[in-house]
C-alpha cells in the first residue's frame, strides 16, 4: 500500500509543479511540497515495514535499488528546497522520481524473499550512501543543466517563462556546489564501505572488478572537481560543465557496467 501511495504522491507532485510553472498560482507550490513530503514519508514507511516484518532491506533486487534511488531524490529535493526555496528544481527531479519508481514497480516491486548475498552491515552502509551520493550528483547535474539554460536566456535576452521561473545564476551555482560537495562525501563513504564489504564477502578486494574500477574512476573525477574548486577556484560555468562530465562517469559506472561489461 505504501508503495502505491508513494507512486501517487510523486505523480501528483509532478503534476502540481508543472501547473505551478505554467499557471503561476502560488498555492500550487505548497501543494507540490506537501505531496513531495508525503511521497518520502510513504516510501520510508515501506522500508520501515519491510525491516520490521522481514528484517531485510530490499537491496538485493533492481526494484529495491530503484525505489531507494527515487526516495533519495525526493529527500535531496526536500533538503534543497528548505535551503534555497526553489520549486523549479522539482520540475526536473519529479519526472526522474516517477520514472525510477515506475521502473521499480515494473521490475517486480518489493521482493518477497531476502537475498542472502545482499544483506549485512557493511552492505547496508555501502548501498544507501552510494545511492544517496548518486542522487546528490544527479541533482548537481540538474543544476548544471539549469545553469546553462538560464545562462543562455540571459545571453540571448529571452525573457520567457523559463527566464522568469528559473532561479538566479548565483543561486544555481550555490545549489550545484552544495549538492556536489555533499554528494562527493556521501559517495566516498559509500565507496569505502563497499570496499570493506567486498573484503568481508570475498576475503579479498578484487581490484579488477569492473564495477570497482568504474566507481574509482567516478570518485577520481569528482574528487578532481572538488579539489580543483577548493584550491584553484572555478567559474560557475565551468562548475556547471564539470557536474555534467562527472555525471557521465556515474552513468558509465551504473549503466555501462550493468549492461555492457557484465553482459
Amino acid at each position: 500500500m505504501f508503495f502505491d501511495l508513494s507512486i501517487l504522491c510523486a505523480v501528483l507532485a509532478l503534476l502540481h509543479v508543472t501547473l505551478f510553472i505554467f499557471m503561476g498560482y502560488q498555492r500550487l507550490a505548497s501543494i507540490t511540497n506537501i505531496f513531495a513530503v508525503l511521497g518520502l514519508v510513504f516510501s520510508s514507511a515501506q522500508f520501515i515495514t519491510l525491516w520490521q516484518t522481514k528484517h531485510m532491506l530490499p537491496f538485493g533486487s533492481v526494484s529495491g535499488l530503484f525505489l531507494f534511488l527515487s526516495q533519495a531524490l525526493m529527500l535531496v529535493y526536500i533538503m534543497m528546497y528548505i535551503k534555497y526555496r526553489r520549486l523549479t528544481l522539482g520540475l526536473f527531479i519529479f519526472p526522474l522520481t516517477v520514472l525510477f519508481i515506475m521502473i521499480a514497480r515494473f521490475a517486480g516491486g518489493i521482493p518477497a524473499n531476502i537475498n542472502p548475498h545482499a544483506a549485512g552491515f557493511w552492505l547496508y552502509i555501502h548501498l544507501p550512501f552510494t545511492i544517496i551520493g548518486t542522487a546528490f550528483f544527479m541533482v548537481s547535474t540538474i543544476g548544471g543543466i539549469m545553469y546553462f539554460v538560464q545562462e543562455r536566456q540571459l545571453k540571448n535576452k529571452n525573457f520567457g517563462i523559463i527566464f522568469r521561473t528559473f532561479p538566479p545564476l548565483d543561486t544555481i551555482d550555490k545549489l550545484i556546489n552544495t549538492t556536489l560537495y555533499i554528494g562527493f562525501y556521501t559517495f566516498t563513504i559509500g565507496l569505502l564501505s563497499g570496499l570493506i564489504w567486498m573484503m568481508y564477502a570475498n576475503g579479498v578486494i578484487n581490484i579488477y572488478s569492473p564495477k570497482l574500477v568504474f566507481a574509482i574512476i567516478t570518485w577520481i573525477i569528482y574528487s578532481g572537481i572538488t579539489f580543483y574548486k577548493q584550491i584553484k577556484g572555478m567559474s560557475p560555468k565551468d562548475t556547471a560543465l564539470s557536474t555534467i562530465v562527472g555525471f557521465i562517469s556515474v552513468l558509465i559506472t551504473y549503466v555501462g557496467v550493468a549492461f555492457f561489461v557484465m553482459g
Binding site: 520567457g160 538566479p168 545564476l169
Partner: protein, 423 residues
C-alpha cells in the same frame, strides 16, 4: 443602500484637470462636511492621488445624490458641471465595489500592479473615518478591500516583473547574482538615470557602490546620497575587477569600456560573472563584451524589451487577479445580504421586549408585588427565558439570510427553531 463612485483618472482626464480636482489634505474636512450635509448620503470617502480623484458615497438613490457630489466638486474646483462630466465616470452597486477592489490591487493604475496605491487607499479609508464619513458599510468595505488586495498581491504575480527601465536593470542583476548584499556596483555617470538606478540598487541591498563622473563633484554628490564612494573618471577602470554590476549613462561619444578592459578584469576576478547595463545613447559599453564568457551586457533597447515582456506578463496576471476580486465581491455581497435582516431582527426583539414589559406590569399589579428585589428576580427570569428562546431562531435567521431560498411557513419554522420531526 448601495455604493456609488464618481471619479476621474489618468485614462479619462489630462494631468491639468487631475491637478485642478486633486483634494489637498487641508481641504478634506470641508469637503467631507459638505458631502455629509446631504441627508440622503449616509457614508462617503474620497481617494485623491496624482492619477485619480474619486468620491465614494453610500446612498439609497445614487442618481440624485451623485449629482449633488458633482455639484460640490464643480464648486470646489470652479469648473462647469457639463465640462466636468466629460472627464468623469460613475459606477454604482457591484461595479463600484469591484472598482475599488481593482483600484486597491493596482489593476487600474497607470503602471499596472504598482504597490503604492494600496497604501493610498488605506490612508483614504483612515481619513474617511477621521472626518466622519465612515459607517458600517465603508468599514466593512475597507476590511474586504484589504483582504482582497492582499490575496491578489500574494497569490498572483501582479506586482512582480518590473516595468520601469532602471528597476528592470536591478531586477536583472538579481537574476544573475541572487542576493546583492555581497556585490559591488560601479556607476559611470551621475545623471538622472544613474541616480535612479543607484537608488534601486540601494533598496535591493547592494553591498557597495562606487560612482565616477567627468565632473568629480557630481560623482561625490551622488556617492554621498547612496552611501558610496567616488572615484576620478580617469582611473575608474581600476575598479572593474572588484565590480560585479556596472551601470553606465554618460554623454560620451566614444566607448568607455572595451572588450580588452573586461578581459583583463575577468582574469583578475577569476571569471566571476559581471553584469553591464548601458543606458547611454550612444553606447558607453562595447557590445562585443557580451560575447565574453560569464559577462552579460544589456543596452537600453534590451531593457525596454524586458519591460515590454514584463508588462505583458502583468496583463496575464491581471486576469488571475480578477478571479480573486470577483470572489471578494461575492463575499462582500453575502455580508451585505445578511445585513438586510438586521432591521427585522431588531423589530422582533423590540416586540419581545415590549411584551415582556407589558406582562411584568400586569403580573405585578395582579399579584400586588411591590418589593423591588422580588420584581428584579422575576424580570431576570423572564429576560433569560426570552433570550434563550430567541437565540436559535435569530442565529439561524442571520445565517440563512444570504441564502435566497423559498420556504413554506412550516419549513421556515423548522429551520429557524431547529425543530425535529415528532413521531
Amino acid at each position: 443602500m448601495q455604493l456609488a463612485v464618481l471619479g476621474l483618472n489618468h485614462n479619462t482626464a489630462p494631468v491639468g484637470v487631475r491637478e485642478t480636482l486633486a483634494v489637498d489634505g487641508s481641504e478634506l474636512a470641508e469637503i467631507y462636511s459638505e458631502i455629509m450635509s446631504n441627508d440622503r448620503i449616509y457614508e462617503a470617502m474620497i481617494i485623491s492621488t496624482c492619477n485619480r480623484v474619486e468620491y465614494y458615497i453610500v446612498t439609497d438613490d445614487f442618481l440624485c445624490n451623485i449629482e449633488s457630489v458633482l455639484e460640490i466638486v464643480s464648486e470646489h474646483c470652479k469648473m462647469d458641471r457639463s465640462e466636468l462630466r466629460k472627464y468623469t465616470y460613475i459606477h454604482c452597486g457591484e461595479d463600484s465595489v469591484r472598482h475599488i477592489f481593482r483600484v486597491a490591487s493596482g489593476l487600474d493604475s497607470l503602471v499596472m500592479g504598482e504597490p503604492q496605491i494600496f497604501g493610498q487607499v488605506k490612508d483614504s479609508f483612515e481619513n474617511c473615518r477621521l472626518y466622519g464619513g465612515a459607517g458600517t458599510f465603508l468599514k466593512k468595505l475597507e476590511e474586504y478591500t484589504i483582504k482582497t488586495t492582499k490575496k491578489v498581491r500574494t497569490y498572483t504575480g501582479i506586482g512582480e516583473n518590473p516595468v520601469s527601465v532602471s528597476y528592470a536593470a536591478v531586477e536583472l542583476a538579481t537574476k544573475i547574482f541572487g542576493s546583492l548584499s555581497d556585490k559591488h556596483a560601479l556607476i559611470i555617470g551621475a545623471g538622472e538615470m544613474c541616480e535612479l538606478a543607484s537608488k534601486h540598487l540601494v533598496t535591493a541591498g547592494i553591498g557597495g557602490i562606487t560612482v565616477t563622473n567627468r565632473t568629480f563633484e557630481k560623482a561625490q554628490r551622488l556617492a554621498g546620497e547612496v552611501n558610496g564612494s567616488a572615484v576620478e573618471f580617469d582611473s575608474f577602470k581600476t575598479c572593474l575587477p572588484d565590480s560585479d554590476i556596472i551601470i553606465s549613462s554618460t554623454g560620451a561619444t566614444e566607448l568607455l569600456v572595451t572588450a580588452a578592459d573586461v578581459k583583463d578584469a575577468m582574469a583578475l576576478r577569476k571569471r566571476r560573472p559581471m553584469f553591464f547595463i548601458d543606458i547611454a545613447v550612444p553606447r558607453d559599453i562595447d557590445p562585443l563584451i557580451n560575447e565574453l564568457e560569464n559577462v552579460y551586457v544589456y543596452s537600453i533597447d534590451d531593457l525596454k524589451a524586458v519591460v515590454d515582456a514584463n508588462r505583458k506578463q502583468r496583463e496575464k496576471e491581471a486576469v488571475k487577479a480578477m478571479e480573486y476580486i470577483d470572489a471578494g465581491l461575492a463575499m462582500f455581497y453575502e455580508w451585505l445580504e445578511s445585513m438586510k435582516i438586521i432591521p427585522v431582527i431588531k423589530s422582533l426583539r423590540q416586540q419581545f421586549e415590549d411584551k415582556k414589559e407589558e406582562e411584568l406590569k400586569r403580573f405585578s399589579s395582579k399579584f400586588k408585588i411591590e418589593d423591588k428585589n422580588e420584581l428584579a428576580k422575576i424580570e431576570y427570569l423572564v429576560t433569560a427565558y426570552m433570550n434563550k428562546v430567541l437565540h436559535t431562531p435569530l442565529k439561524n435567521l442571520k445565517n440563512a439570510s444570504a441564502v435566497k431560498g423559498k420556504y413554506s411557513l412550516d419549513e421556515a419554522l423548522k429551520i429557524l427553531f431547529e425543530l425535529e420531526d415528532m413521531k
